[in-house]
Symmetry: C2
Subunit: 281 residues, 2 copies
Amino acid sequence: MLICRRISEVRELVRTERGTGKIIGFVPTMGYLHQGHLQLMREAKKDCDMVVISIFVNPAQFGPGEDLERYPRDFERDHALAAEVDVDAIFYPSVEEMYPPGFNTNVDLNSLTGCLCGKSRPGHFRGVATVVTKLFNIVLPDRAYFGQKDAQQVLVIRRMAEDLNMPVEIVTVPTVREEDGLAMSSRNVYLTPEQRRSAAVLFESLKAAEKAVEQGERDAGTILQLVRDMISSVPEAGIDYVELRNISDLNPVEVIDCPVLLALAVRFGQTRLIDNTVLEV
Amino acid sequence: MLICRRISEVRELVRTERGTGKIIGFVPTMGYLHQGHLQLMREAKKDCDMVVISIFVNPAQFGPGEDLERYPRDFERDHALAAEVDVDAIFYPSVEEMYPPGFNTNVDLNSLTGCLCGKSRPGHFRGVATVVTKLFNIVLPDRAYFGQKDAQQVLVIRRMAEDLNMPVEIVTVPTVREEDGLAMSSRNVYLTPEQRRSAAVLFESLKAAEKAVEQGERDAGTILQLVRDMISSVPEAGIDYVELRNISDLNPVEVIDCPVLLALAVRFGQTRLIDNTVLEV
């Protein structure tokens, strides 16, 4: 497995492989890999002839006061995990390589980004859209893989790729969960043992909402109250948002009469976790 | 010469040609081609194995009250001119093809775009950056050609391409001028015969500034006054801006001690013309 620290290296590597007719798969990550990331890589390996991943903790998608500095990093561990799933190359650039002095350009969306995580984290999706544009232009993948855990991110990237005619297919992979249902996240490492146990309530509340819809409940307010009540019953959990949104434009919904995204962000101490499910009727 | 009205057509065409190892040159235009455009195409033909041009009057780069509706269009004429310089394909999309319903993404720069034409035309360079990003992603050229007449546009596109790691080389081609020095522009067709004669003052004033610098003048204020006085002496000319700016960051300069962009925009009736020169010491 090759490790490329320079843009020119990974670009040249992919160009050579593409020249032999290979299909290139790409998995952008911020590292501290978990089974969710590895599942993206396994899917990419199934579909593609060559799989490149990136490991880059992107400062542009962190706001002031967020966890940029303490975001977990362990390249040796990531390297070993990527080797296990037979990734072909890791693009592992420095911040200076990605944002040299004078950097001045942003990719931004007019909608989809003002609600949910975009409301809690102003500028987050501009940072995501910009770095993903850069990474796509550097790697020029045929397919790029993203996890459904970051549902809004997937919508933003799909919209951006379509609007800007990016020559890449966006593939979404289902959320991978721990045994108790907690969605895999690099941030789970922040949790104290007690917070970790409490955090199972997120998945439980999503399942409860699914069950309510199965049993005929269609009123968004009722479902939201159910989820909020369950989460609020855990003393350590602080709700950032719990919302029901149209799955394509993220507009709020009042009645569940088509597939609806139930998305939530909840703090356990300093740690903000997100999760979601799509409620189908 | 092929005419592609659909994104999928031009993309497939270029993919096939690239597959045979050809170098792809690209000249984006808004049509109503003049010798300036044709010079870009000739340069592209010299450097590249296949030359694609686009003809698209991009609504996103026109502001309210600007000349989007009356911007001159004549595809048959453009087609014939492009054939003369042996262009291989014209990408000639509809507005709906480029901006389908739900379009939602912008590319924008934090600096370079707030002054000169960016100040007179708010949102103009966001529209330019966005459509050029789209066109680059559609055509995937190895080289793209822009005229020095649009000096600020060239800076914006170079910055954007570098910041977003676009895999394309930006080539700048010197301004092509009429016999009396007026820079070629599709908008020159708007001028009345009298305005057309008066418009020669733009080039004359740039030459006068160059001469003053040659003769040792280094004070920006003195040079600007010279240019403004010359233009103001023409009754029909209304100055939008005349400015001296650092050639790399477009910051204002007070003393000419390195290459400096002398840029101007002047109205003749409803018609706004731009021109520029680089003053070298």
